[in-house]
């Protein structure tokens, strides 16, 4: 079974001061969500980690390596958070792109991490703006 990296992505985001200084506070933590739909009372700017877009594997010498693709999206209001959302898009990209050591996945060694984007994405709410970064993680199960 493929590994779930949602919690690991969230932990990496929470450990980044550049991220936490820009997102809203939520339930003694930050407005960074892995469950969708996010609660109506969750504040913006927020980060949402979508379910995997793809699970696959690659051949190694004597094993298979997991490849997981997930979208990390940032949302905020056009009026107040436009620039913050834009900044968060680039911060998320820089945090994950070619930086496998930032992601800790139990029972696995992350040997490849890449990020593409940010691209403009729609929000579910009128008057809100979004940016999305696609994160691809390559992992080897611990022997």
């Amino acid at each position: 079974m493929s590994v779930d990296i949602g919690t690991s992505l969230r932990t990496a985001l929470v450990n980044s001061a550049d991220v936490t200084s820009r997102v809203g506070a939520w339930m003694d933590s930050y407005s960074i969500h892995t469950r969708i739909p996010v609660p109506d009372t969750a504040p913006y700017p927020m980060i949402v980690i979508q379910a995997p877009s793809a699970f696959t594997d690659e051949d190694a010498l004597a094993s298979l390596r997991d490849v997981v693709v997930r979208t990390v999206a940032t949302y905020g209001t056009v009026s107040e958070h436009y620039r913050v959302v834009e900044q968060l898009g680039y911060i998320v990209r820089d945090l994950f792109h070619r930086n496998p050591s930032v992601l800790t996945v139990a029972g696995h060694r992350v040997y490849g991490l890449s990020a593409s984007g940010p691209i403009v994405v729609p929000s579910a709410v009128e008057g809100y703006v979004g940016r999305a970064v696609t994160v691809t993680a390559r992992m080897q199960g611990a022997a």
Partner: protein
């Protein structure tokens, strides 16, 4: 014996061949996304079809490629080329903004991805196809 090296002509051949590979690859990925949308089983909510009387529409569950009901989103698929050695496969356009929301989701809706899975499914074949077109072109 003399060897004349015409690098301009060679590079032009390479460029044309790779462009053919890119075009064919985008077409292959588009076909794969159509297959994922139109033929893979869906396990979401069931409700009466919007346009066909007596037909039940099965929606996609989160994480599955979206279930086409009217064919509108699929009909917006476009392959375009703005520069040499690059191409773009896009869904959506004027008045049809939801294909992107389906691919990446929103804060209120889980994604129904159809493009990234298509690319992942065809990744190896894309590499092979570009190599084949390159070999054919030289």
């Amino acid at each position: 014996m003399t060897l004349q090296w015409n690098d301009e002509a060679l590079l032009l051949k390479v460029e044309r061949a790779v462009n053919r590979g890119i075009a064919d690859s985008l077409s292959m990925v588009r076909q794969e996304s159509f297959r994922l949308i139109l033929t893979t089983p869906k396990s979401g909510a069931e409700r009466p079809h919007r346009t066909q009387r007596g037909v039940t529409h099965v929606a996609s569950a989160p994480g599955e490629p979206f279930a086409s009901e009217t064919g509108l989103a699929v009909s917006t698929a476009r392959i375009s080329f703005s520069d040499s050695l690059s191409g773009r496969l896009s869904f959506g356009g004027a008045g049809v903004g939801y294909p992107l929301a389906l691919e990446v989701g929103t804060e209120k809706m889980e994604a129904r991805p159809y493009l990234v899975p298509a690319l992942i499914n065809k990744y190896r074949e894309v590499e092979h196809l570009v190599a084949v077109r390159l070999r054919e072109g030289l």
